[in-house]
């Protein structure tokens, strides 16, 4: 203000007054080794709003009785800086109370990608107005989640549920036994499959290297979770034996350029199976943690 160089620009402050909670979960030893995380659920207990406060709110701001609750994963980097990633968000009503569930599977996936020793899982829960703007209500001020009470209070503490599958039962078995044929019902494995490029007509005179390569293929079947679990995870399709990791195939080919023919290297992505796994359609593909 009062600067000779800048023309003053006045603005209106639209506050979204968010109350924010930081939840800390010690995660070491929580996820069994050699297991696949299918779902992680954060449960928060929304406390009932006292009648008097509800009545007062109803009189003051009858427009809306909802608030937006957003869960973010908080990552404290080695240099001390913070970053958050949006994980889940939903509306809650001030007229309701009880357990509210948030899907935080992605947050746990991110946490699993951290280098060891890993920090606890930090979840930032913020309660905001349903939407911004002069007509927005202030119902969010009435939303309270039970936080961790004194030891032993027990009632309503935030809970993190981790649903995993034991890969010793529901996973693949690595490489197939080259000696044993893959029979019906054999467990998912990676089988050698050689591709002979010299046997392909189009490759003649064009592909100089390699003469052929081991591409591998995923064969066999995967054990399906038993019924109660399937109905608990309706979003998951049947588990299938798929190539979960692949690698590229470099080649040397002949290239004609400017009337001359020369050798050139080219790399074909995803040409060889590196690893076979049992995976379900519908399972979220974990986002890679950016550095």
């Amino acid at each position: 203000r009062f600067s000779q160089n800048f023309r003053e620009v006045a603005g209106r402050f639209l506050a979204s007054e968010a109350s924010t909670h930081l939840l800390v979960f010690g995660m070491e030893q929580r996820l069994p080794p050699n297991s696949e995380l299918v779902q992680a659920v954060l449960r928060l207990f929304q406390e009932p709003v006292p009648e008097a406060a509800l009545r007062r709110h109803g009189l003051l701001a009858p427009r809306s009785d909802r608030a937006r609750v957003t869960v973010r994963w908080l990552h404290v980097r080695d240099d001390g800086s913070n970053r958050t990633s949006l994980i889940d968000s939903r509306l809650v009503s001030v007229h309701e109370s009880g357990w509210k569930a948030f899907d935080v599977t992605e947050a746990v996936n991110f946490w699993q990608q951290l280098r060891r020793p890993r920090q606890p899982l930090l979840l930032q829960v913020s309660v905001q107005r349903e939407h911004l703007g002069p007509l927005a209500s202030s119902a969010h001020r009435l939303v309270r989640f039970a936080s961790q009470g004194p030891a032993g209070a027990g009632q309503g503490q935030p809970q993190l549920e981790l649903h995993t599958l034991d890969l010793r039962d529901f996973g693949a078995q690595g490489n197939c036994d080259p000696e044993a044929p893959v029979t019906e019902g054999a467990r998912c494995c990676r089988r050698e499959m050689y591709i002979d490029l010299q046997g392909m007509k189009w490759a003649e005179r064009w592909v100089l290297e390699p003469p052929g390569f081991l591409a591998y293929e995923c064969v066999g079947t995967c054990q399906q979770p038993p019924e109660p679990l399937r109905s608990k995870w309706p979003f998951l399709g049947p588990r299938q034996c798929v190539a979960s990791e692949t690698t590229s195939l470099p080649m040397i080919v002949s290239i004609r350029e400017g009337g001359r023919t020369r050798a050139q290297v080219v790399s074909l992505p995803n040409m060889r199976v590196q690893k076979c796994s049992c995976a379900s359609d519908g399972a979220p593909v974990p986002r890679k943690l950016e550095p």
Partner: protein, 55 residues
């Protein structure tokens, strides 16, 4: 992995719409210089490299 997939991927990487027709003389005249072979071997090792870490 089918023959069509390999051919499709190679054409895509080289931004070609069809397989180049090379006569026998052209094909035989091509010599792979050392630096191209070195590049090929390095890529090959890198694509195998992750596997060795798995052993």
């Amino acid at each position: 992995m089918t023959e069509e997939q390999i051919l499709g991927s190679l054409l895509q990487q080289l931004r070609l719409s069809e397989v180049p027709v090379l006569d026998e003389g052209e094909a035989e005249s091509v010599v792979t210089p050392a630096h191209v072979r070195a590049q090929y071997v390095a890529l090959l090792q890198r694509s195998h490299g992750t596997r060795s870490r798995g052993k």
